[in-house]
């Protein structure tokens, strides 16, 4: 059957509300039975020609009361179930958002951010049908048929027996339906999804298709793929519908059998009209909940698929960034990497470690520049100092204190990060500059903006510092973004900096003073710089060359040139 254990554990928390929903559902079924009783009563009176205003008063009143109760309970069921679903979704989203933040940027991997954001928003919403409809319906489908058969048994044993015989069909029905979710048919569905994805691709590649003059061919292809998709899907569905057909046939045939069987016994005087009619009214109700379950099944499976991804994320282990007892950041900021190794949890390549045996030293107040080819591990070294993750091997110390024992929040204020491309958050430019110091006053923001050379840009914008950025707002060009990142760092006034130097542009106006701004920012600070410009390397206190996760050379520009190693060869090649 289709139960996701961890999702059920979550639903447990809402058991009161879900039990209320199930209770209301049972109440609806019971009210339906009462209504059937009243209808049978009235019709029996009519047949006996004793239906008058007074004899009808009692069944009419009962029918009306049952109708009102039934409506209220039906509504109560929806209300309780949707509140349960709302609470569960809110709680899971809170946990998932918090957990994503705790996992940190490294655990998430580069490309799947879109999928991850989708899981946090739409993925969690997809649990709705499972929680608010499928789960309560599952309980009702198990309970109501048996309950009604028992009630029928009180009035007519033989009819109850007929209905009871069909009850084993219920698990059979479940198995059939469950079969639709089996591994095999899931594979079929993935195959279908691939056919279905063709269209999205055609749209994304539309410009390319246009350049190649292939639009007309593509329209034909979309039509044929869609047709193939239809045929393949219908092949799967025809089988899947058989389970519904089985249920439908069992329901109507057993109703028919009950009707004929009861009719014949009436004919021979072995049964009274009223119980016979009552049983006939109830027979279809035995199968109603199962039919509803079948309808809730498909949206339910989507919820289970979403839940699998959500719990997979929630179960990923977050790094332990802080070890109590903690101390405030030491004053000197003498940073050492001692034999540091690190591997990404979901590393794709065959190489096990991204970093191996890294030993480094950053003397207070000076800059250490890292250089090396793409993928060497420079960003990973920076990430460890920023405490996005903890080393798998060795340790990082500040004035001899292991990094993990330094208060995390205080470290974030001590060590600022300047990325190549800062992320723009929806909000004003001022808010974006204030990222690391949300309480900074306007005057301080203006100073930082001026220091980063962002002022001319801000002056050009319609609302100055209050111009809204992000979706629907103004965008910034690459060079402007870099200045924004620098402005953030100026405002943060952190004594330690990790700077991912922007790659060079060809715009001389832009280039001219970015270098000057950067050296002003680095001046007097303890800094780790991922360098892309020869100029930066020349002026850095020390240089470390990283290759394939190891430090291959360290020294000043002159020392490295003199030693005639890797660095000297690189510079010569320029």
């Amino acid at each position: 059957m289709f139960l996701e254990r961890r999702l059920l554990d979550e639903a447990q928390v809402e058991r009161l509300l879900l039990a209320t929903a199930v209770g209301c559902g049972l109440g609806v079924a019971f009210a339906t039975v009462i209504q059937a009783w009243a209808i049978a009563r009235v019709v029996a009176l009519a047949l006996a020609k004793t239906l008058t205003g007074s004899s009808a008063r009692q069944p009419f009143a009962i029918f009306a009361a049952a109708t009102i109760v039934r409506a209220l309970l039906a509504w109560g069921r929806t209300a309780a179930a949707s509140v349960a679903s709302q609470r569960l979704k809110d709680r899971l989203r809170q946990r998932l958002a918090t957990h994503i933040a705790e996992l940190g940027p490294l655990a998430l991997g580069g490309e799947q951010t879109g999928e991850l954001a989708g899981t946090l928003s739409e993925g969690i919403e997809r649990l709705d049908a499972y929680v608010s409809t499928y789960l309560p319906q599952l309980a009702l489908a198990a309970g109501i048929p048996i309950g009604i058969v028992i009630l029928v048994a009180f009035r007519d044993l033989l009819s109850a027996a007929v209905l009871l015989v069909t009850i084993p069909v219920i698990p059979m029905f479940m198995v059939l339906i469950g079969g639709a979710a089996s591994a095999k048919s899931r594979r079929q569905w993935t195959e279908l999804a691939r056919l279905g994805a063709h269209f999205l691709e055609a749209i994304q590649g539309l410009t390319t298709l246009k350049i190649f003059g292939r639009i007309h061919d593509e329209i034909g292809k979309i039509a044929t793929t869609s047709e193939q998709f239809r045929e393949a899907t219908m092949g799967v569905l025809r089988i899947a519908f058989l389970s519904a057909l089985t249920l439908e046939l069992v329901a109507t045939i057993s109703t028919a059998v009950v009707a004929v069987q009861v009719g014949l016994r009436l004919l021979y005087g072995k049964l009274m009209f009223e119980p016979a009619f009552f049983v006939l009214l109830l027979a279809p109700e035995v199968y109603g909940p199962l039919r509803a379950l079948g309808a809730a099944f498909h949206p339910g499976t989507q919820g289970v698929a979403a839940a699998e991804r959500i719990f997979e994320l929630l179960e990923a282990e977050a790094p332990h960034l802080e070890h109590a007892p903690t101390v405030p950041p030491p004053p000197e900021l003498h940073i050492r990497f001692e034999d540091v190794g690190f591997s990404y949890p979901q590393h794709r390549g065959e190489r096990a470690a991204a970093l191996d045996g890294i030993t480094l030293e950053i003397v207070p107040g000076t800059t250490l520049a890292l250089a090396g080819p793409t993928g060497a591990g420079k960003s990973t070294i920076a990430a460890l100092l920023l405490r996005f993750a903890v080393p798998g091997h060795g340790r990082i110390t500040v004035d001899g204190v292991p990094l993990e024992e330094i208060e995390l929040g205080a470290w974030r204020r001590t060590c600022a990060w300047v990325p190549q491309r800062p992320f723009l958050f929806a909000g004003s430019i001022a808010d974006n500059v204030r990222l690391a110091r949300p309480d900074a006053g306007m005057a301080a923001v203006e100073r930082a903006v001026a220091a980063a050379g962002l002022e001319p840009v801000v002056m050009r914008l319609p609302a100055g510092l209050e111009t809204q950025l992000g979706e629907g707002g103004a965008g910034l060009s690459g060079g402007e973004l870099q200045r924004l990142a620098l402005a953030r760092a100026f405002l943060a006034e952190a004594p330690c900096l990790v700077l991912d130097e922007p790659a060079a542009h060809l715009d001389p106006r832009l280039e001219a003073d970015l270098g000057a701004v950067m050296s002003r920012l680095l001046d007097g600070r303890t800094a780790l710089v991922i360098a892309h410009r020869l100029q930066t390397l020349r002026t850095a206190g020390r240089i470390a060359i990283v290759e394939a996760g190891r430090i291959v050379e360290t020294g000043t520009h002159e020392e490295l040139l003199r030693s005639g190693g890797v660095y000297a060869r690189m510079v010569a090649a320029e």
Binding site: A56, A74, G114, Q204, I211, E227, A251, G263, A504
Partner: protein
């Protein structure tokens, strides 16, 4: 109701299918009604102990309806689903046909990727319109009418009451649902968008947030946006639940009303007890026809906004129109005419404050190699987009083979160019299929020859599947350099006289860049080549270098001339060579 009209227009060719679906739906409901009515008649009549023969007909009817209902339901499901996929196919073709002339000019902008992905989702949500939204009310109408006529045999009052129930529960309640939805539809859409944005900020902005110690605020924002959405959805679900309960209640009250209305008729003997039994059970079973209507209304309100979004995209006017009698580009290319002429070419993107190109003068001779260099945003790509006829509305002169570019059909113009750009789209398919795009029906030898020219044949030989290797989602199974060389192989197959290269090495490291440039050099021989770049690598090989600065030509000349001139090019060159890109 523009959306509804557009949907119905799309539905027209599917009319027979819809009629069949409605017929089968009505048949299913009628079989249900028939089963219960015949069973009621059977039991009620049997209570008078008639001879068995009097019941034979009813027994047969009960059995017949019992079996046929399941069969009808099955057939209805198969037909409606099959229809759904037909609709999907039509919607896709319809949308693609309308979108094609609009790309990229009318769908540009920062979020175009999202926009198109959302459109694909919208189309999927529309697939259910005809069978889940359009068919049920028609079924209810037909089945309801039949039921009312059936009731009319038993008296006017039951028929009127049943008609009232169908109107109130089948039309009134869904319409109420639609009216209420007008208010909260935008609310929910807005909340959904806000949640999506907050989630993206948290996930993609995470490095910035973590480093600044501000994750808590972003988590709070995302969770808050989520709460607003779940709250709005809950309110809607509770309200829909109330409406659904009300529909059921109306049907049941209808039964009570029938009881009350027929009391005098029963007493006077105008209506028999048997008749009453039949009416009541038929009314109960007939509710099946209106049951899906409230949820159909709920789907419709979502589909209406999906359709509105699609119409917003497809309603745009195409950026370019072909001339009534287009010229054809002469083949072979006339050697005496300049390949491309631009004179005082000016272009401003719609809505942009300043022109992206501001007076470009440039003659490109057939067979020459021209480099256009400039910082990002200088206007390089704009030149290419104008050449490919993605935009109209430029001023000045833009000629291809001696004729105004607007005198050719857009497809004809594009056939003159082979394009390799920084982000050439590769399709999730095999290497062969990606190559065939450029020359359908090409023989294996031609494909290998193109791969050879692009410097990719050794790589493909080494792959287990050879030409049949599946290159993953948009080519992600290949390395960056392999992807670009595959794009180059495609350009080779294209065999067009002019090669347009838009920063083909931007995302590559230095070593790979050299490989790709080498491949380009091989295929450029004998073709007119226009290279756009902001990386100043191997500039000596161009006949002319044009330096573009904010939409104007700042300098032009050969590499040696420009270096000697000590102008903008020289400054760029110095910056590029202060850059340190260790390989």
């Amino acid at each position: 109701m523009r959306e509804l009209r557009a949907l119905l227009r799309l539905a027209k060719p599917l009319l027979p299918g819809i009629v069949l679906a409605v017929f089968l739906g009505t048949a299913t409901v009628s079989a249900g009604v028939g089963l219960m009515a015949a069973a009621a008649w059977l039991i009620a009549t049997a209570s008078f102990h008639p001879p068995l023969g009097d019941l034979q007909m009813a027994i047969v009817a009960v059995r017949f309806f019992g079996v046929s209902r399941g069969a009808f339901r099955y057939a209805e499901r198969v037909v409606t689903h099959s229809m759904t996929f037909r609709v999907l196919a039509r919607l896709r073709v319809w949308f693609f046909e309308r979108l094609a002339p609009l790309v990229p000019a009318r769908t540009g902008g920062l979020y175009s990727g999202d926009l198109l992905a959302r459109a694909v989702g919208d189309i999927e949500s529309l697939e259910g319109f005809f069978v889940r939204v359009l068919a049920p009310p028609l079924t209810a109408l037909v089945a309801g009418t039949a039921l009312v006529i059936f009731f009319a045999f038993y008296g006017r009052a039951p028929a009127l009451i049943e008609a009232g129930v169908f109107l109130a529960a089948g039309a009134g309640i869904p319409l109420a649902a639609l009216a209420l939805a007008r208010r909260d539809g935008p609310l929910i859409t807005g909340a959904r968008a806000a949640l999506g944005r907050a989630s993206i900020e948290l996930v993609q902005g995470l490095p910035d947030l973590v480093a600044a110690g501000r994750t808590r605020d972003a988590v709070t924002r995302a969770v808050g946006a989520g709460r607003r959405l779940t709250g709005a959805l809950r309110r809607r679900a509770v309200r829909d639940g109330a409406l659904e309960a009300a529909a059921g209640t109306l049907a049941q009250l209808g039964i009570l009303a029938i009881f009350l209305a027929v009391l005098p008729a029963i007493r006077s003997g105008r209506l028999s007890g048997v008749g009453l039994a039949v009416i009541v059970l038929a009314a109960l079973a007939g509710f099946e026809a209106i049951e899906p209507l409230p949820s159909a209304a709920a789907s419709f309100r979502e589909q209406r906004s999906a359709m509105a979004r699609l119409l917003e995209i497809t309603g745009a006017n195409p950026a370019v129109t072909d001339p009534p009698i287009p010229l054809t580009i002469p083949a072979p290319w006339p050697a005496d005419l300049p390949a491309i002429v631009m004179e005082h070419l000016r272009f401003t993107y719609p809505g942009a404050p300043a022109p992206a190109l501001d007076g470009i003068d440039l003659d490109i001779a057939p067979g020459s190699a021209v480099a256009i260099v400039g910082a990002s945003g200088a206007g390089k790509t704009t030149i290419i987009e104008l050449l490919l006829r993605f935009w109209e509305g430029w001023e000045g002169r833009l000629e291809l083979a001696g004729q105004d570019i607007r005198r050719y059909a857009a497809d004809g113009v594009r056939a003159a160019f082979a394009v390799v750009s920084q982000r050439t789209h590769l399709f999730t398919a095999t290497i062969r299929n990606n190559l065939l795009l450029a020359r359908p029906g090409a023989a294996n030898a031609e494909l290998w020859h193109a791969l050879e020219a692009a410097g990719l044949s050794d790589d493909v030989h080494a792959m287990p599947g050879g030409l049949e290797t599946w290159i993953g989602e948009q080519g992600l199974a290949l390395s960056g350099g392999q992807r670009q060389r595959l794009a180059i192989a495609r350009a080779v197959l294209r065999d067009a006289p002019i090669l347009l290269l838009d920063e083909p090495t931007t995302h590559l490291d230095t070593v790979t860049e050299r490989q790709v440039l080498g491949a380009l050099e091989r295929i450029a021989a004998g073709r007119t080549t226009i290279m756009l770049t902001h990386r100043l690598t191997a500039m000596e090989r161009y006949d002319t270098i044009v330096v573009l600065d904010r939409g104007r030509i700042a300098e032009r000349g050969t590499h040696a001339e420009l270096l000697a001139a000590h102008g903008l090019y020289r400054q760029m060159w110095d910056i590029a060579h202060r850059e340190f890109t260790p390989a």
